[in-house]
Amino acid sequence: MSRLGRIARRTFLVGSAAIAAGVVFGADLVRRPHANPLLDDLEPGAAAITPYVRIDAAGVTLITPRADLGQGAYHVQALLLAEELDVELDQVSVDPGPPAPVYWNTALAPEAAEFMVPAQGLMQDMAEGAMGAVMKVIGLQITGGSTTVPDGWDKLRLAAASARETLKLAAAEQTGAAVDQLRTEAGAVILPDGTALPYTDLAARAAGMEPVADIALRPPGSWRLIGKPHPRIDMVAKCTGTQAYGIDMTVPGMLQAAIRLNPAQGGGLAGFDATRALAMRGVIDVVRVRGGIAVLADNTWRAMQAAQAVEVEWAEAPMPATMAAQWQVLSDSFTAERQDSRNRDDGDVMAALAEGEIISAEYRAPYLAHAPLEPIGAIVRVEADRAEVWTGTQIPRFVQQNVARIAGLSPEDVVVHVQMMGGSFGHRLEDEVVKQATEIAVQKPGTPIKLTYSREEDMAHDFPRQIAMARMRGRVAQGRVEALDLEIAAPSVMASQLGRQGQAAPGPDSQIPAGAWNAPFAIPHHRVTAYRAPELAPVSSWRSVGASHAGFFHNAALDELIHAAGADPMEERLRLCNDPLARRVLEEVAGMSGWTGPLGDGRGRGVALVTSFGVPCAEVVEVTETGSGIRIDRVWVAAEVGRVVDPVNFENLVQGGVIWGLGHAMNCEITYEGGAAEQRNFDLYQGMRLHQCPEIVVRGLENGGTVRGIGEPPVPPAAPALAGAIFAATGTRLREMPFNRFVDFV
């Protein structure tokens, strides 16, 4: 049985179902609350009240249903719970919890986040009216869209506050003290005489009590933890080699598996001969999986070596043969038939562009691999009536359903253990590796199969960031930007991604123009049109999704017009910016960088502002042209997030997002020849290296009323700010990523 199940058998769980049903999840949307999954397998006499807090003899365990990909999700979720529960961060354990509908991601609902399209497909399928209600019904437990903090902000604190007040009631009942004479501290209820009753000792009594639902969250002035730096709860483990990731998991009796798929995406396996591989040391079997073969062996390396020794015959791939052909498909997609949305249409663009000098340009963004440093993998064991899965995933409910389908089981008979992840960047929003491990496991009933991708397979079979193309036409007058008409063509990430889960994604894909259509600039004549190109390579969400291309296009186009107007990139953006929060972000970054116009002497600065996932984020990049290439010297970043939960984790995430954006813009692309990725390891996909890393100064602003996530918003402004800086330093206008096609970097 699962670890969680075992613990639950001797465990008391506390919190409030009333909170889960009414206050947190919105009973107005769906009346019936989700079951608390921690109640499963409880012994008679034990109780479980909230799905977020478990108290047992070993201490307090916080259930943190958003997965940790490296962004510190466990840490910030634990911090939010600990704030109201009155436990110290070093007193708690965290557990990602089982896949369960109650952990659906509220913040992914459209009213709360821009990351909305997944729900549209689901909504259609469920024929429901309210998107939030649908997502709740399906229990879409997803980590993505920079939603962990927005989703948990109220939920986790309310659950913890309910647990705290219930424990106080239990202490009052046990001691006869008045509840209002009790306080809580460091995992204990403190009696008036100073005696501390540990929560663990009160658990049994609290089990029989109605949870307290009438609670108020503490005001910011009394926060102990939120907004202050804390040692991240996983830091010591991650600095001592003692943090176990999915790739480190072992299950008794398991076999190691390596996979070899048709290098051409979507191509099948015509035939194979495993004679030579089967004769290799440690090899146990070679089996067929969808699109290729898998080798089972007693050692990961032996399995990987043997996979290369299998003689395979690949079928044709369904993709255009060359990148030139793919770009032609995009170029041909700017048509009325393929128009997907026109969310921005201010003034009269057609009239404004009917006369005078028209400035025009075309932009491109390439496919990009996610390539988290831990390759994807999964352990799956299938038995006659149940299955168990150990994997790092952002979509545990889909994993559960897919394993059940392939193994011929019911989802409730599939136990999923979500593992710590060595990065993701959206990669683990897909679960092909789990499906493949399950395909193998059903051929070896009872034997745990650990499938580990080689780096080459991981990159070749990644579903990359979408390619995209944009066309700009614009006009300037009297030193000002007058008209900007931006057209963007890209395949739909959401249709591709949801299609692999058997879900439709009808309606426009808001990710095609994300970060462009909502650019907070009052250009008098301003239009943003999205065109949906046919799917070429299968594509998926890559850190910041659509804004990663559209944010670049919009800022790059704006820069060209500002230059033509003879204006300053910062001053003109400030003049045009009509969103108060975004404007403060721009002003902040102008002040931080001491922006005073051109630098001269081979140095240059660029600025970009993109609002994505509800966060206006502005960056200034400063570069120097040296004898050995462009050197990025400094970056200043300001972002409006409503609240910074932990400033150190915040700064680290923002710096990482900037480096992610800069590194890929500098030198990364995936190109396909005959359907096969040409870059399959880090020798051809470098990203940023430490010697190229600039100084990065970060400021989080807290002027907005809504709490936002910061995992993705720092990415989109990085590339256009870098392009602007390089133009200022060298006069070379960059319209296509990666930039090292046109300039050298140190």
Binding site: M235, C239, I247, R302, P372, Q692, E695
Partner: protein, 155 residues
Amino acid sequence: MKLTVNGQTREVDVEEDMPLLWVLRDELGLTGVKYGCGIAQCGACTVHLDGAAVRSCQVWAADAEGAEIVTIEGLGTPDAPHPVQEAWIEAQVAQCGYCQSGQIMQAAAFLAETPDPTVAEIDDAMSGNLCRCGTYPRIRAAVQAAAAKMREGAQ
């Protein structure tokens, strides 16, 4: 063959050309050593071989015989961390943390050779270790802090 890992002699029965990385991970259970690329491009598998930082994906098991092999598990522990690990924890370096074993092993070997490094020397020594999360600013700071700690410790 016999390997000396973290001060202990371990008997392993593997092919001569099995990369040390997989001997450590799959045969000896030392999973602090990470697989990232297999071609010496990421540095996640960095260990010490007679004090030198090497990419264990490129070292044959047979070539490690007779050498002192140290992995992240042998460098320090949560209760008794190496100064470099202390500096990493204090600087709150890790995000996903997957590359950090290799980063720390690289830094520890570098600082043993170069106790008072310049920023340029740090950049040079650490640029073969890839961090996809982008913790480079904190790695730089942690290497400098570790250098100071180790110099103090040596006095």
